[in-house]
Point group: C2
Chain length 343, copies 2
């Protein structure tokens, strides 16, 4: 069972793998050679090579774990957290520990052996988003989980691993992640001062300035944030205030699929198919359990968004030591390149 | 002039390069081929190829910017922050901005073309540490600076760049870094509860448990932290409580040079010369300016330490999105490998 350990200095949780722990030789000899297409377990027709599916978007008359799907969700065969068991929170001397309980699911985003999410059609992206919403809604019912992160690792440098088939992942955690807590606290502070949502204000200001906006549809906006940590960093946000990604209206979901397809196509064109990560920051699950008024506050002041970070620069000692980032491309220039891209 | 921009959501500062900004083509064609030894500007005899030295540990009778040094400090030729000017704090709409003022110095750690800090002798490491202390004490006198980070990028993956010559860096910043603030807050919380220093307690517990201790000298201890984020992560700490690295006693400095040499030699042996970063977390400069009692509290509750992170695993979407880390090697096993290494 993996172990969740809390850093006593800054309260950061770490997942320590206790089974099949890596020895020094595993790091020295490790390589990420991609698996050939004919060995890919995620292609249509290979359903028997994967664990039993949790969910799929399927055509009429097709059966679970057979052909005929467009998006398919399976448990990770190498999960960072385990689904069975209780949290078993405990102390080890001065340290806090719990069992590594959670969910780790893989969303296979196409039945075809596509490698880059930018090659998905808008309809296919819509099915992926619908799947993420469905799975998050289901995971929320498990009282052990506080949060689920939907994210994508695209390309070797971004951590995609040996299987190249286009997929995203969903990891449900028994603690609200530190990064999400920081955003909740920042949003709350702003709301308490202004009685307005920080990201609603930010969207208004960015739409007026225009400088950093990449794509602006009816319901969704994509922009390079003012304090971008990374060159060509992009945020995708709903224009209507909403804390919960899973509570999107159908017209927002359609728009999000369209903006995502546009944005990934432009990134690919401008940066020659770069590695990237994206990740969703939405409200935590258990917000109704907090102190009185807490739930209402998150609803009012937190605004879900997707952060997309191309992996073009190296994170080195200065960034690790300070939390400062050094970005060699101003977001105004990045946004201009992306707006003007031919796709 | 680079620009410091503050993320409005979580208060993180970002350094945006505004001159010679990188275009998409710079990322597509970029490569880090090492510079051949005969072109290295940091070797003895090449002093005229670098900016004028700020400080050097020199033999008697040698003159500045000539041969005869053992450690030499020069300004970075590609500084992330500029030394001249005022901070010029201002608003851009809802955003906070200041000019990118700071210091960026390179500590050349040997006159010989050594590539790995693990090849420095203990005497040479002592001179490097003495240099870091001297430069930090000097930088503290500049009222514009709040902090200076001493750090090392070793190997291409860790961000060492094209010049391979063994060196560390010192960057002084006009804001206390977020990571340091988090550690100060965590240390304070613990002290307020217990009236003891968190890291003093941690050292006591680790010395009793022995499991995670790698090296234990009279004054300095090296251990793999309980909640290690990375495989073979190491912390080096003074056993006597002290908040300020620059206030080390001579016997602590000697011991630190010895422990550092030991630790780097063991890392090299166990992991076959891995890339790594290390960085110093010491108390911020301007602590006497805080509210009443603030200075005394930092002195009492903050404990300087060095964090060393081998760069063996990739940071991917899950880590970026949550701040959780996944560590495939338990620190107990890492410490055992390092203790048992033949050096």
């Amino acid at each position: 069972m993996p172990e969740l350990r809390k850093d006593p200095l800054i309260g950061r949780w770490v997942i320590i793998a206790t089974e099949r722990a890596k020895r020094p030789v595993d790091f020295i000899t490790s390589h990420d050679d991609p698996l050939p297409e004919n060995e890919c377990p995620f292609c249509e027709g290979k359903e028997k090579d994967t664990p039993v599916e949790i969910f799929a978007v399927r055509g009429n008359g097709t059966g679970a774990n057979g052909k005929g799907w467009s998006v398919r969700v399976i448990p990770s065969i190498n999960p960072v957290l385990r689904i069975e068991g209780e949290l078993n929170r405990r102390a080890k001397g001065m340290y806090d520990v719990m069992d590594g309980i959670g969910a780790h699911e893989v969303i296979v985003e196409s039945p075809k052996h596509l490698i880059n999410a930018s090659d998905l059609t808008m309809e296919q992206f819509h099915a992926v988003l619908h799947t993420a919403v469905t799975r998050m809604t289901d995971l929320e019912r498990d009282p052990r989980f506080r949060y689920a992160l939907w994210f994508k690792n695209q390309g070797e440098v971004a951590g995609a691993g040996r299987i190249q088939h286009c997929r995203s992942q969903l990891i449900a955690t028994p603690a609200t992640p530190k990064r999400v807590k920081e955003e909740l606290a920042g949003s709350r502070r702003y709301f308490e001062d202004k009685e307005r949502c920080l990201l609603c204000d930010l969207i208004t200001q960015e739409r007026e300035a225009k400088l950093r906006v990449v794509f602006n549809s009816d319901h969704i906006i994509a922009l390079c944030p003012f304090a971008s940590r990374f060159p060509f960093e992009l945020w995708i946000l709903p224009k209507r205030h909403r804390c919960d990604f899973a509570a999107m209206e159908p017209e927002e979901l359609t728009d999000l699929a369209s903006v995502f397809t546009q944005v990934l196509g432009r990134l690919k064109a401008v940066l020659d198919d770069p590695p990237y990560n994206y990740l969703l920051h939405t409200a935590p699950f258990r917000r109704q359990r907090g102190k009185v008024g807490h739930w209402k506050t998150i609803e009012e002041d937190f605004h879900w968004h997707i952060e997309l970070i191309p992996r073009l620069t190296r994170v080195a000692g200065f960034e690790w030591g300070t939390g400062f980032y050094i970005n060699p491309t101003p977001p105004e220039e990045a946004a201009k390149y992306l707006r003007e891209a031919h796709v």
